[in-house]
Structures are given as structure tokens and as C-alpha cells.
């Protein structure tokens, strides 16, 4: 799907205005623990998290994550927004809880990439 589709599915708000929302996204992960996100470096294009700090954007940068979705209506401040824009990372916020937000994306075809620890 396109990043734009996430907005409808999660009734999300775009935090970083002016970015290209026509990019393709197919895989996601959801975590509040950034080291866990980085432990499994397979292709992940979306990160869902309830954590709001600059290191979320750094983690996304290192992992080549294109879209960060803040769940539970969380919103970052200017510093984080500018950092994301600078790195070309799309920030969205949704009022859904983590579990529901992940479930909604999964049911619309977004997968976890490498889905199990082997």
C-alpha cells in the first residue's frame, strides 16, 4: 500500500507536512523498545511506537524505516519533527492503541517481514 493509505486505515494525522505520501510500504514492526527494533534488521518500512523521543527517529534512520506512527495519540515536539523531516521520515499519529493499530494494518496486508525468531 501507499503511505497515504495508512492515514485512512488508522484515522491518522500527518505530523510532518509536505512529504511524499505516495511511497510504497509493505512491512512493519511495533515496539517501545528501540534496541529490540534494531535486533531484527530485516526489512521494516513502518515503525509503530508509543515512545516519543529523538532516539526513535535515530533508530528509524539506522533501520531505513520510512514511516513512524505514534500510537495512543502521542505527538512529538518541534525538535523531533524537524529531525524526521531532515531525514525524510514520515511521522503520523493515531488515537488507536498499539495492538489495534498493528491489527488494522496487518488485516489490510501489511506484514511483519521476518515474522518469527528463527
Amino acid at each position: 500500500m501507499k503511505a497515504r493509505n495508512i492515514i485512512e486505515i488508522l484515522d491518522a494525522e500527518v505530523i510532518t507536512e509536505g512529504q511524499d505520501l505516495e511511497i510504497d510500504v509493505t512491512t512493519a514492526c511495533g515496539s517501545d523498545l528501540m534496541s529490540d527494533v534494531m535486533a531484527y534488521a530485516g526489512d521494516k518500512e513502518i515503525l509503530l511506537t508509543g515512545l516519543v523521543n529523538p532516539q526513535v527517529i535515530r533508530t528509524a534512520e539506522m533501520m531505513d524505516i520510512k514511516v513512524v506512527i505514534f500510537v495512543r495519540a502521542k505527538k512529538p515536539g518541534e525538535y523531533i519533527i524537524n529531525m524526521a523531516k531532515d531525514k525524510g521520515i514520515i511521522l503520523l499519529t493515531t488515537k488507536y492503541h498499539m495492538f489495534v493499530a498493528c491489527g488494522k494494518l496487518f488485516s489490510e496486508g501489511i506484514t511483519g517481514g521476518d515474522e518469527r525468531i528463527e
Binding site: M38, A39, E61, M62
Partner: protein
Amino acid sequence: MEMKELSSESIKLCYQIPGNDFTIAGEASSNVKKMLTQLGVNPDIIKKTSIAMYEAELNAVIHANGGVAEVEIDSNRIIIKIKDEGPGIPDIQLAMQEGYSTASDTIREMGFGAGMGLPNIKRYSDKLEIDTKPGKGTMVTIEVNCQLP
């Protein structure tokens, strides 16, 4: 601060890692990622190098009040040295175990300190050396094999 030295054989970069500044932590790794991208290094290699360096950089910020990062990129490998003058690691075997951490609650609330840092560094390095002296400091040397295009 960045210092760059270009020669025909290798690229050398050096960064100061400011201590206890969680806002800008990761800036050195971010710069190295940009450099590797400019050099046209394979994206999977860039990702593993970036993650390993970022975790080591964060460790220096979290545990050692910052340090220095020296990066050398030559035609077949990337060598990253993160040096600090922190408390050292008393038991490396224990520190390498997933889940073991001495980080503060504040760090945990930021999404780190879950005892995944060193295991992640090992996971993404082709070679990892940890030279640590309790009370004196630690030098983490990460090597990633890579063929420059």
C-alpha cells in the same frame, strides 16, 4: 566535531561523542551512514554498520559520559573504534548476555537499556573486540567486511 582525512587507500573520520546528551546521541553514526551511502556501499552493509555503531555510540553516552569515535573505511572493510574513559565493564560475559543491563530507569524509559546493545553490536559485526579496564575505560572495535564499489 568531525575530522576527515582522505587518502588513496582509506577514509578516516573522527567524532567527539558528547556525554549525557541523549538528544543529539547518534549524530556520529548518522554522519557515517551518510558517508557510506555517498560511497555507494551495499545498503544491507550500511544498515548493519549503522546499527552496530549507533548502539556502541549510545553505550558511550549512557555509561561513560561520552567518548570518541574513529572510523576507517578502506577497500574491503569498515573499522569503527568507540573509545571512552568510563567505568569499564567488570564482567564482559555477563554484559554480552541479552537482557543484562546496568542502565538507569531514565535510559530505560527512553527505549534503551534493555540489555540488547552489546548483543546487537555483536550480531551486526563481522569482528568485535572489547578492550576494557575497570575504572579506566573501554574501547569497542567493530569491523564490518565490505567491498567498496
